[in-house]
């Protein structure tokens, strides 16, 4: 089974501002217009993945104020982004790994005691990423825990994704033209919280030998992403991991 880095999620209060700031900081371009449920995304392809499966960053923000105001449930991401930091409250909110087949995804879901999300992008597009040209991204992910996440796993362990449509992949869409863009050439390494033992237990393989990951022993989640550049020096994108500002995540867990 080939497990690779599929994408990163970067939570922002205002993804429009965050994406422009990231571009000014790194030269990485983005494209706009994709959305899912109450979230809008700015997409940042990172280049040079295996077989056209480049990694990317999805910079996300909420765009449905009414949905937020009506929602009385504890909201992990909202609470994270409410905490000020030096990056206008950007936080890494996810590492998403990728596999190359539905059967691989099902095997991982089974091993982690969860399910695979249904492929209902044609019948329930609102639950999927949609683009202005009508394209609906038909991916599946795991593990989905309908009865609550097992207590042994912290929040923000990586989700596993299968994107069957490689040409339609988020990373294969053109970024918008802008001054001083640089050309990414792939993810060189990621700094993740926790330990190799924890992530390896989750992935079912030795994490360090499977993906380019380093560990800092802090809260679980992404802390740094180093991107190679085809035309200049590597860039390192540092933002705090979401879990670093949530001391107790118990109220966000669905009851088992």
């Amino acid at each position: 089974m080939n497990i690779h880095i599929n994408h990163f999620s970067l939570g922002a209060r205002n993804a429009f501002e965050s994406a422009a700031r990231l571009r000014n900081e790194t030269g990485l371009g983005f494209w706009t217009g994709e959305w899912v449920r109450d979230i809008s995304c700015h997409m940042v392809p990172l280049g040079n993945g295996p077989h056209g499966k480049d990694a990317f960053i999805e910079i996300q923000c909420y765009v449905d104020a009414h949905a937020h105001l009506k929602d009385t449930r504890p909201n992990y991401r909202y609470d994270v982004l409410s905490v000020d930091n030096e990056y206008n409250s950007d936080y890494w909110t996810g590492l998403m790994l990728g596999v190359d087949s539905l059967s691989d995804l099902e095997a991982i879901a089974k091993r982690l005691g969860g399910d695979v999300t249904p492929e209902d992008s044609r019948t329930n597009p609102y639950n999927h990423f949609q683009r202005p040209d009508g394209y609906v991204l038909g991916y599946q992910s795991a593990p989905r825990y309908m009865m609550g996440r097992p207590a042994k796993w912290p929040m923000d362990m990586p989700g596993i994704y299968y994107y069957p449509d490689v040409p339609g992949r988020t990373s294969n869409q053109p970024v918008g033209a802008a001054p001083h863009l640089r050309r990414p050439a792939g993810v060189k390494w990621v700094v993740f919280g926790g330990t190799n033992e924890l992530l390896s237990d989750w992935m079912g393989v030795d994490a360090e030998k499977t993906i380019p990951v380093r560990f800092n022993g802090k809260a679980v989640g992404v802390w740094e992403v180093c991107v190679a550049m085809a035309d200049s020096q590597d860039v390192i994108i540092r933002r705090p991991a979401a879990a670093s500002v949530i001391a107790d995540d118990s109220k966000y867990r669905r009851p088992a």
């Binding site: 923000c61 765009v63 449905d64 105001l69 949609q130 040209d133 918008g176």
Partner: protein, 244 residues
């Protein structure tokens, strides 16, 4: 062009859902990525001579932690869905814009304000130079009344930017008419003369003030009529008293 319609604002609870719905309803394309402070606009070009609908809504919900009258108004008029919330007129010179400012005993929001946060910014980094009047803490939109804009450089006017391609896309050929509430007399009183009203392709329906429908011509296609209630249908203009 004398006084003309520049654009129409459509307030939305979710600008991507609204743009998707409008594009499927009409075949009109839109572009994305423009933003100003806590809000973003998805732009629907309407064809020559250069008009557009801006589908506007909050994209920074954390800004709602510090509520003010404008934000509350936007929330209230989008509670039940899309509402047209602004008729935006245009003139071709600062002199004309300043004349309107003088008429309203107001000032101009200047296009050369050096603070980028005061302007619309696009995904490509472009900052839109746009002047408008009247200025003040409360927009005339809350009273169902239009304001006026002047663009010192129309090269990158919002109406002329390429849209995302959409299925069954139609090519708009310009605004044919806009249906507004109230009467010609009420609008003439606001603008300072019936001659201004006569310059505009408006139909008056006598309902509460504001925009109620926009009719757009299209190549090899019937005219497209976009109907949404005016903001004043959701929040009566009487809530805000006389404009000041």
């Amino acid at each position: 062009m004398p006084l003309h319609i520049d654009h129409i604002s459509l307030a939305s609870p979710h600008i991507f859902r609204s743009a998707d719905t409008l594009s499927k309803e009409t075949g009109l394309g839109y572009w994305t990525g423009e933003w100003l402070r806590d809000s973003s606009v998805n732009i629907v070009p309407l064809g020559p001579p250069g008009n557009f609908i801006e589908i506007s809504g909050f994209i920074d919900i954390f800004s709602l932690r510090h509520m003010d009258e404008r934000k509350q108004w936007i929330l209230d008029i989008t509670e039940t869905g899309d509402h047209f919330n602004g008729l935006c007129l245009g003139v071709d010179s600062m002199e004309e814009l300043e004349a309107f400012a003088k008429h309203w005993k107001s000032t101009v929001n200047r296009a050369d304000n050096p603070d980028p946060a005061a302007h619309f910014q696009r995904a490509n980094g472009y900052i839109l130079p746009m002047a408008s009047t009247p200025a003040g803490k409360r927009t005339p939109w809350m009273h169902g009344l239009p304001n006026v804009y002047f663009y010192p450089d129309r090269t990158y006017h919002s109406s002329g930017q390429p849209t995302h391609p959409i299925p069954n896309q139609v090519q708009p050929t310009g605004i044919k008419w806009v249906e507004v509430g109230g009467t010609p007399g009420e609008l003439a009183e606001w603008l300072g003369g019936m001659r201004y009203v006569e310059m505009l392709p408006l139909k008056f329906n006598g309902k509460s003030l504001g925009v109620w429908a926009v009719c757009v011509g299209a190549e090899e296609h019937d005219d497209i009529v976009i109907r949404r209630p005016a903001a004043s249908d959701a929040v009566p203009i009487s809530k805000y008293g006389a404009w000041s």
